[in-house]
């Protein structure tokens, strides 16, 4: 019998710790498939963040570091400088990357560190129980923004991809979403491209993935996918912000 579909070797057998309907599982799988398809699993070293994906080190079937809140890009820098020939990636949520670790992500891009960052943006703090993130939309309710995010009080949601794309050392910046099969396919393509850019030694690459948090959004999984499409994509437009120029 022909095998037409099977579990990727990029993931371990450990069951995910994510809530039902959360799209972290899809994103993990995409990253893992890319690592397998690019034949990187034997060499790659990953860095997990703090937040819902804190246990990513148990799920990816490769060498992994667990980093402190926001520090994954610095940890990845240390790894990459020791192993310039190994692919290195960080997997980070929006609290981790866009709040406590803003300095680290900006400077890893600024140095043109040859690593790949998978940035999962679900517009809320998940693991700590639904507090406001820098990416929380205006009017969106969170436990620390019980009346909805007020831009006058806490600013507008931060657009990390747009900001990072202005930095010379960032050579690949793309925002994708995992709310539909078509978008999931595009997301995988972007993730793969980001790793390929790293392998070419061109600089820093980041893929921002718009993701859902049914538990803390207080929505069903299906409602969450719709909410993402109706609310997040208009504010966080999908698309490529930066790509290396194709060789002629």
């Amino acid at each position: 019998m022909d095998v037409v579909f099977q579990k990727t070797k990029g993931l371990t057998d450990k069951p995910f710790s994510y809530c039902p309907g959360c799209t972290h599982g899809i994103i993990h799988r995409l990253v893992a498939e890319c690592l397998e398809e690019l034949n990187l699993l034997d060499e790659v070293i990953g860095v997990a963040p703090v937040g819902c994906s804190v246990f990513a080190y148990d799920f990816f079937n490769c060498d992994m570091h667990e980093a402190a809140h926001g520090r994954a890009p610095a940890v990845a820098t240390g790894i990459k400088r020791v192993h310039p020939d190994h692919p290195v990636f960080t997997y980070q949520g929006d609290g981790d990357l866009a709040s406590i670790g803003t300095a680290e992500i900006v400077h890893v891009a600024h140095r043109g560190e040859k690593i790949t960052t998978i940035f999962v943006n679900n517009a809320i703090y998940g693991m700590t129980g639904g507090q406001m993130a820098p990416t929380t939309l205006v009017g969106q309710k969170a436990t620390t923004a019980p009346y909805g995010r007020d831009a006058a009080l806490c600013g507008n949601p931060i657009r990390m991809s747009e900001m990072l794309a202005t930095i010379d050392g960032a050579v690949f910046v793309e925002r994708v979403a995992v709310n539909t099969p078509a978008n999931i396919r595009k997301a995988k393509k972007a993730i793969k491209k980001a790793f390929e850019v790293q392998l070419q030694g061109l600089g820093f690459g980041i893929v921002e993935v718009l993701s859902t948090c049914p538990t803390n959004w207080g929505l069903t999984p299906v409602e969450s996918l719709n909410w993402l499409e109706k609310n997040m994509i208009p504010y966080y437009p999908l698309g490529n912000f930066k790509s290396p120029k194709e060789e002629v």
Binding site: M64, H65, A74, T77
Partner: protein
């Protein structure tokens, strides 16, 4: 090898490279800037890497990443910078990674000053970061000793999979002395836990300090505790001088110990015998050096460039057998031999 005249901070860099350090991540802060400057200049020549991080927080996390790969790696900073690094040091201790951290102390709290001080004793010897942990702290009193202890620091770090701190004050960093580098093979330690890619030959290695199950974390804490006990047993370093004849035994480390040695000379001329216990490791603290107290000894005198921090460890070690007095200058002021000698005389009622 002939002696060379070197500034303390540069000697630290040179000794680290001789000890096999290939990676340095740091951020400028006075009075330790010659360490990163030296590393930026010299590491590329030996195939090593220097990165100036965007902050002390990033620097120590770069150290964490490189240490997890099994590299000999180091950072250096000064008091407020070390305060920022404490988060990372706690993670490194939790994940059991070897690295060397140099702290060239300045006065505090806050921005304080850039002058020499010893007011980070608590910060250095009590973990400093969150959680139950300790790490060895070496407190050299000369540039030669600093050079000798750098190699020791890297070896002990590898041996126990622990961060190790070399603690000097601004004086150690900034003054120049002749030093000799003795050739010594770095301790070779296998690092099967390092993340170097599985090569398809082993299960993934994970560098981690998260143990979400309290029972598992308690086990990990006890495992670390066993390691701390082993370091306490094997890694204590201390210099004692004239403790059997002394009427007063001074306790001082680093630069202060040298000042105390001059005070001892002054007292000797006045017919007063003074001894010295100089902890070379502040953690583990040389408690055993206090076990045998001479009948002649009337009191201990702790001398520090702080308001008195090591004095707690001295009191614990003395166990109430003698009074423990204190003399200190702080804020970047340096005790004088005369000032210490006067304190000794006043303790003996001979001022």
């Amino acid at each position: 090898m002939a002696k060379v005249l070197m500034k303390g901070n540069e000697a630290i860099g040179a000794a680290a490279i001789k000890a096999g350090c290939k990676y340095f991540f740091g951020y400028p802060i006075t009075p330790q800037n010659e360490v990163p400057e030296y590393m930026a200049r010299e590491l590329p020549k030996v195939g090593g890497v220097f990165v100036q991080a965007e902050s002390e927080v990033a620097a120590i996390n770069m150290v964490y990443g490189a240490a997890g790969c099994g590299a000999r790696v180091m950072t250096s900073s000064s008091s407020p910078g070390i305060a920022l690094k404490q988060e990372g040091i706690s993670y490194i201790a939790g994940a059991e990674l070897p690295c060397v951290i140099v702290n060239i102390m300045r006065g505090g709290p806050g921005l304080g000053s850039i002058q020499p001080a010893q007011s980070d004793y608590y910060q250095s010897t009590r973990g400093g970061g969150n959680g139950d942990y300790y790490h060895p702290v070496y407190a050299p009193a000369s540039i030669q000793e600093t050079v000798d202890l750098m190699q020791e620091a890297f070896d002990v770090a590898d041996k126990y999979r622990t961060p190790v701190m070399v603690l000097g004050d601004g004086m150690i960093g900034q003054m120049m002395e002749p030093v000799e580098f003795f050739e010594r093979e770095p301790l070779k330690v296998e690092k099967p836990w390092a993340t170097n890619g599985t090569k398809g030959k082993r299960k993934p290695n994970i560098i981690n300090s998260l143990f979400i199950d309290p029972q598992v974390l308690e086990e990990h804490n006890h495992h670390l505790e066993e390691k701390f006990a082993l370091m306490k047993k094997n890694e204590v370093r201390v210099e004692t001088f004239n403790t059997e004849e002394a009427e007063v035994v001074c306790v001082a480390y680093g630069t202060t110990a040298r000042i105390v040695k001059n005070a001892i000379e002054i007292c000797k001329k006045d017919g007063i015998e003074v001894g010295l216990i100089r902890p070379i490791t502040l953690w583990p603290f040389p408690e055993a050096a206090f076990e045998e107290v001479s009948e002649k000894t009337k009191a201990y005198l702790t001398v520090e460039m702080s308001l008195g921090q090591m004095i707690d460890d001295v009191k614990i070690s003395v166990e109430g057998k003698r009074p423990v007095e204190f003399y200190g200058r702080c804020g970047g002021m340096i005790p004088t031999p005369k000032g210490v000698a006067e304190k000794i005389k006043s303790i003996l009622g001979r001022a």
